[in-house]
């Protein structure tokens, strides 16, 4: 049962999940039992198309290197979609800049993963503008020139503001029709 739980957590995590985090989510659990479960899983996936790897201090599923050629074809036919969380975080940063991760988290009501912030930085869509003068001195993020270029915008003013923004419901709304009630 323990190794099944570990398996599910590793698949669904958006970044490599550390031993400590696994232990926290599975508590109460013996450290030695958790080690045992991880070794069982590691062995179970050895030689398969999926590998369980320890990366940057955490555990993650990856495709086995032997099948790189096949997996690459997948990306040649279709570029990956921007995930909904990535888009939302980018939108919040664009609108609220400069803003911190804690502020984005408060706005979304959920955790913001380092991998998404990392991904946006890597894309050059956001950058660190400085640090906020509050305890912890968190990073302040804002959008970058590359963001405007890639999204085909001349300036941030081209993004709709709340007054011009078409209500998403409004787009779909149809003319009210009379109900067929007796």
């Amino acid at each position: 049962m323990l190794s099944q739980k570990v398996e599910a957590l590793i698949l669904a995590s958006d970044e490599p999940i550390s031993f400590e985090k696994l232990r926290l989510f599975l508590s109460p659990v013996d450290a030695s039992k958790l080690h045992g479960a991880l070794s069982i899983l590691e062995e179970h996936y050895a030689g398969r198309g999926i590998q369980l790897k320890q990366i940057a201090g955490g555990w993650q599923f990856r495709t086995a290197p032997a099948y790189a050629g096949i997996v690459k074809q997948l990306w040649q036919t279709k570029a990956p979609r921007l995930s909904r969380s990535m888009l939302e975080i980018l939108a919040i940063i664009a609108y609220q800049q400069p803003t911190t991760r804690a502020e984005i988290e408060a706005m979304r009501g959920m955790k913001v993963s380092s991998s998404i912030i990392g991904g946006l930085l890597e894309r050059g869509w956001i950058k660190v503008l400085g640090r906020k003068d509050v305890p912890g001195r968190p990073h302040l993020y804002g959008t970058n020139k590359q963001f405007l270029a890639d999204f085909g915008l001349n300036s941030l003013h081209d993004l709709p503001d709340s007054s011009q923004l078409v209500d998403v419901d409004g787009i779909f709304q149809e003319r009210p029709t009379a109900s067929k009630n007796p």
Partner: protein
């Protein structure tokens, strides 16, 4: 269950002597007139093909009359049903049965019964759909796609349209928050503030679930005021992740430390 006003007590008692097993209900627990009728019929194990229209009409009127907060938009539909029931009642009292072209008896209740049966099916199906294992509630998929070192997953392309949709949702949420920022003060709000904080210590909570733990309209209102106050002081966050979705309450976090 919220207490009933004294002025309505007489009517309710009347109804209860008639139907000892029927607990008082609030209109807002229903999804419309058909939902109320089905509740009454099924709760009292009535034969749906032979609905006692007089009894049902009285009970139905009682339920809609007891809700003073009925807004104009919704009231119309409830009133239409009330008049449909009245009309049925009078047609059933006609001395001679109504006949169709072939000379068979017409039961004036048939149309309503068909409507009730059809709606009841969808009500059940909706419950069954709700129980299907749902993505992000019961089931999760792979959240990140790091492949082996030999494969570089291409980065997703910029998609302005998708960004604008996300943008719209974020803005809608923000304007909603501003509109609701209202603060009032009252004696027991202080206690409810402690209650809300204590409830959220274990993690986020749905607003609905929090209220569920309380009894009575006064407790609800006081708790709502406590939530607004905590929100204003930025001790908690009130988030609606999607339009029409539940409202989530959570303690503000700052770099993984809870600030209180």
């Amino acid at each position: 269950m919220v207490g009933v006003k004294l002025s309505e007590q007489a009517a309710i008692t009347d109804l209860q002597t008639m139907l000892p097993d029927l607990p008082p209900v609030q209109l807002d627990a229903f999804e419309g007139p058909l939902d109320i009728l089905l509740h009454l019929i099924r709760k009292q194990k009535m034969d749906i093909f032979n609905i006692p229209i007089a009894t049902i009409t009285a009970q139905y009127s009682n339920i809609i009359d007891s809700d003073l907060s009925l807004n104009v938009d919704v009231a119309g539909e409830y009133l239409v049903m009330a008049s449909t029931l009245m009309q049925l009642k009078s047609r059933l009292l006609l001395p001679r049965p109504e006949l169709d072209e072939e000379g068979n008896d017409i039961d004036p209740r048939d149309v309503l019964v068909a409507q009730l049966l059809a709606y009841e099916q969808y009500r059940l199906l909706a419950e069954e759909i709700n129980e299907l294992p749902r993505m992000h509630r019961d089931i999760f998929k792979r959240a990140a796609f790091p492949e082996s070192e030999n494969i570089e997953r291409p980065l997703p392309l910029a998609d302005l349209e998708a960004l604008l949709v996300a943008f719209g949702q974020v803005l809608k949420r923000m304007t909603k928050e501003v509109r609701h920022r209202v603060v009032l003060e009252s004696m027991s709000v202080r206690e409810q503030i402690q209650f809300v904080i204590a409830s959220l210590q274990g993690g986020s909570m749905q607003f609905h679930d929090l209220l569920h733990e309380l009894r009575g309209r006064e407790a609800w209102v006081t708790t709502l005021l406590a939530i607004l106050e905590l929100w204003r002081q930025r001790i908690i966050q009130v988030v609606q992740s999607e339009h029409n979705a539940g409202i989530t309450l959570l303690l503000c976090v700052h770099d993984d430390k809870v600030l209180i």
